[in-house]
Amino acid sequence: MSVFDLTIAGAARALRAREISAVELAAAYNAAVEALNPRLNAYITPTPELALEQARAADRRLAGGGATPLTGIPIAMKDLFCTEGVRTTAASKILGNFVPPYESTVSARLKAAGAVMLGKANLDEFAMGSSNLTSAFGPVESPWKRHGAEARLAPGGSSGGSAAAVAARIALAATGTDTGGSIRQPAAFTGIAGIKPTYGRCSRFGVVAFASSLDQPGPMARNVEDNALMLSVMSGFDEKDSTSADRAVPDFTQALHRSVKGLKIGVPAEYRLEGTNPEILALWEQGIAWLRAEGAEIRDISLPHTKYGLPAYYIIAPAEASSNLARYDGVRYGLRVEGEDLIDLYERTRAEGFGAEVKRRILIGTYVLSHGYYDAYYLKAQKIRSLILRDFTDAFMEVDAILTPTAPSAAFGLDETMTDPLTMYLNDVFTVPASLAGVPAMSVPAGLSAAGLPLGLQVIGRHFDEETVFTVAAALERAAQFSALPQVRAE
């Protein structure tokens, strides 16, 4: 067994037993990053020296007491979290040279727990995408291959670098952010687990904003337990984020061993969307059967406004983004393209600094907020958002959790370029409603497609009831026994 087979829980035991040192673990991971990253492009900025330095500190802590389950654990940090003194790009040319003089709350919490940062993980530019194809630093390649095929596949997005790094075992775990599915969809595509916590559970302070009312940091890791360990550290009230929830953080690992017996699990009719891959529907049925076998009570439910989630999302998210990204103007930091006057400077800087997808969303967002269109688009979308929240609130009167597929398909190829942005948007159809409602949702690897690619199931819970989500996800994980490994990985 190699160090790369260890989970966080396993590595923590080995570190504590001094079977391995944090420096040895970090060095092994650094070497794996060096070997595989040129191919996968999962990291924009590897930080091997910082990792060793943090590992040395972790060893001192492991020897001297005060170690946490994350002390000495090597992780990847999505390059959307500002890290003091380490370049933070949001995978955009416009922030290509930006070195934050401050640390995000989530990365600071991980740092304080003793986690070791291997580097800054690639993503879709400003987290806008479901493929990782929009990164200004090049696409991330998924470590998975279809049976007998060499085509390079997309890891999903936007947290595609995080997903690929964890799946290829060049990180033990990673941070992600999820705005409409950016943790769950890439987790599903790469055969790992990832949770988008309740909106307000993890601080957004220091996370480069995409759509403020939807953005939520969360962990991505090899299994459900590792997610619980990560989330327990990442969560918590932050007075620097006005939308942070001031409530206690439970030890999420306690929820893993609870039985699903007697839990009511909802299966929403509206998720049986036309055109969904039959393999996905079959896996969903399988998931239902597993939970039933464990004693859960399955209930058919209705989330009537599901189909309007995606169009509402594609008004709300770009609208917020158009405003959030106005600060990138070439004046205080980041890229500047000189111009004849200030307006010219703005226009050239932003034309040059933003990629095509980001520009598209800024333009759509600008349009739906503009004079005369606000009510028809933005206000309407917010009302739909209310209805979607009401759907969930009503459903959770009857059930304790909801089970759905995570994505409508398995991973697609990097070269199967989608000419039409809309086709790409459809990837998020199952993940967006939970984002709009702010409820926690987790993707668990549950099986393989006929072509041998991972497929995920999504568990959605009540606001601030991540514990039930973990309980149900852990039960699925035990039943699925998902043990497939990607072709490209550290060994």
Binding site: F81, C82, T88, A90, L95, F98, P100, P101, Y102, S104, R204, F205, G206, V207, V208, A209, A211, S212, S213, E239, K240, D241, S242, T243, A319, E320, S322, S323, L325, A326, R327, D329, V331, R332, Y333, L342, I343, Y346, T366, L369, S370, H371, Y374, Y378
Partner: protein, 483 residues
């Protein structure tokens, strides 16, 4: 009589509404913990939040909210227990986020009223449309470098209250009176220092003209006028410009203009040329601002007495004229000074002394009410000497001057200089006899009917007694001896 401007086609009425930006008195900024203090080294009072760095988030300052509520209460306005922050999106060099956090759809304060007083004593209510909280921008300087503008973000994010009036103002004088009254209320409340030189109070002036009785015509907004005098000038200059356009058969275009004090005229703002579309929407980084009724009630209980109430009370309690009371309450510190002098004394006497000799001394010495030429206690002691007839009013003026000069207590000066009033009727009678004897000719004239000479005799007697005679007794004695 209503203010109008004469045009070729007859009289024009001026219609003015003001949007006043008042800087909130607070330690830190509206959404960050950086200093809100004026001045400072460039970019020293700046947090990453104020500079719009990636991932930075706003957290609202409780005291700024309280200040807005206090101001709303002071303007007798509706306090909205539910309000919300919106983003006003536009690009400008000193606007770091590319948007200003403001309150558009749901301001914290709704309709209110400010009563102004005109020179002829007329009182007029001016409606307040709303008051909302918002962030100030930074400062761009365009004249420090040949090819560049430079930016200091120290002001960026400082809390402002935008106070919008109804278009109820009808003359430059009313505009000035409104601003003075608003500033007075803000200063009483301690919510804004009203310092126009430092930009703590700035006015956007909306001006239109119309024929009396007409509906409103197109208005122009004159941005950021920073003195009351300039506001008054700008109203008139802009009104005259618009009248000329209308009378020439033209059409006034709605636009944003600047007032140029050097030329005494307004001009179009080039930088605001392209029509704005601010794309307001609720700031998703902030939740709705919900106030507790009890909290608002507590703020209300904590409000100081405001100028209108104080003025009414001064009239009732001290029996002084409405006009005098207005002068005394113009500034809270003066009102407090007056009350200290007047408490337990003759309020009218106190008012006369404070607005008369005391103000004159303040002007002459260049001192302020915070560091007065004579303390309220000392002035009170002087009034006591008048009331108990130790000295007369004439001598009191000399004593006061001596107090200003030396800082000595009045009683000490009276003793030192032997200024005690003479009430011994024998001494007075003797002085009167001497004066009448020395002015036999005038006595004859008086007896022949020249009544006016009575004052002359009294004056001569007082002079003979070095001013120390009790005026009433002297009067009496002169009258008696003249028969």
């Amino acid at each position: 009589m209503a203010y109008t401007l004469a045009g070729r086609s007859g009289a024009w009425e001026v219609v003015v509404g003001l949007e006043v930006h008042a800087q909130v008195i607070s330690v830190s900024k509206l959404f960050s913990g950086a200093s809100a203090a004026y001045g400072g080294e460039p970019n020293a009072h700046v947090s990453f939040v104020d500079a719009g760095f990636p991932g930075m988030l706003p957290v609202i300052n409780q005291e700024c909210v309280a200040q807005a509520v206090r101001t709303g209460l002071g303007l007798k306005a509706q306090i909205n227990l539910f309000s919300r922050f919106d983003r006003k999106n536009y690009f400008y060099a000193d606007l770091p986020n590319g948007y200003q956090i403001s309150q558009f759809a749901h301001p914290i304060v709704g309709k209110g009223i400010v009563e102004i007083e005109l020179a002829d004593g007329t009182l007029k209510p001016i409606g307040i449309t709303r008051l909302h909280l918002e962030q100030d921008a930074g400062k761009s300087m365009h004249d420090q470098h040949p090819t560049k503008s430079i930016i200091d973000l120290n002001r960026a994010g400082v809390a402002l209250m935008e106070i919008v009036s109804e278009p109820d103002i009808r003359s430059p004088e009313e505009a000035g009176a409104y601003l003075r009254k608003l500033r007075q209320i803000l200063r009483y409340l301690g919510t804004c220092d009203g310092n126009m030189e430092e930009g703590s109070l700035r006015a956007d002036v909306n001006v239109s003209v119309r024929k009396p009785g007409e509906a409103f015509r197109t208005r122009c907004e004159i941005k950021n006028v920073n003195s009351i005098r300039f506001v008054m000038h700008a109203v008139e200059a802009e009104a005259l410009r618009q009248i000329e356009i209308w009378e020439d058969g033209g059409e006034v275009e709605q636009e944003t203009r600047l007032y140029d004090p050097a030329r005494g005229e307004t001009r179009s703002m080039r930088s605001k040329e392209d029509a704005h579309d601010y794309r307001y929407f609720p700031d998703p980084d902030l939740l709705p601002l919900v106030l507790e009724e009890d909290w608002v009630a507590a703020l209300k209980r904590g409000l100081p007495e405001l100028p209108d109430e104080k003025r009414a009370r001064f009239c009732a309690e001290y029996g002084i004229p409405f006009y005098d009371a207005g002068v005394l309450v113009a500034e809270q510190e003066v009102a407090d000074f007056y009350e200290e002098v007047a408490r337990g004394r003759d309020g009218k006497l106190a008012a006369n002394w404070v607005t008369g000799d005391f103000f004159a001394a303040m002007n002459r010495t260049g001192k302020s009410i915070a560091d007065p030429p004579v303390s309220a206690a000392a002035l009170g002691a002087l009034l006591d000497l008048i009331t108990d007839k130790t000295i007369n009013g004439r001598i009191a003026k000399d004593v006061f001057e001596e107090m200003v000069e030396t800082g000595k207590p009045p009683a000490e000066i009276v003793v030192e200089k032997g200024l005690r009033q003479v009430t011994d009727t024998g001494a007075i009678d003797a002085a009167v006899t001497r004066v009448l004897a020395a002015n036999a000719d005038k006595v004859a004239e008086y007896k022949a009917g020249k009544d006016k000479l009575f004052g002359f005799f009294v004056g001569q007697v007082m002079k003979a007694m070095q001013g120390k005679g009790n005026p009433a007794l002297v009067n009496e004695a002169v009258k008696k001896q003249l028969g």
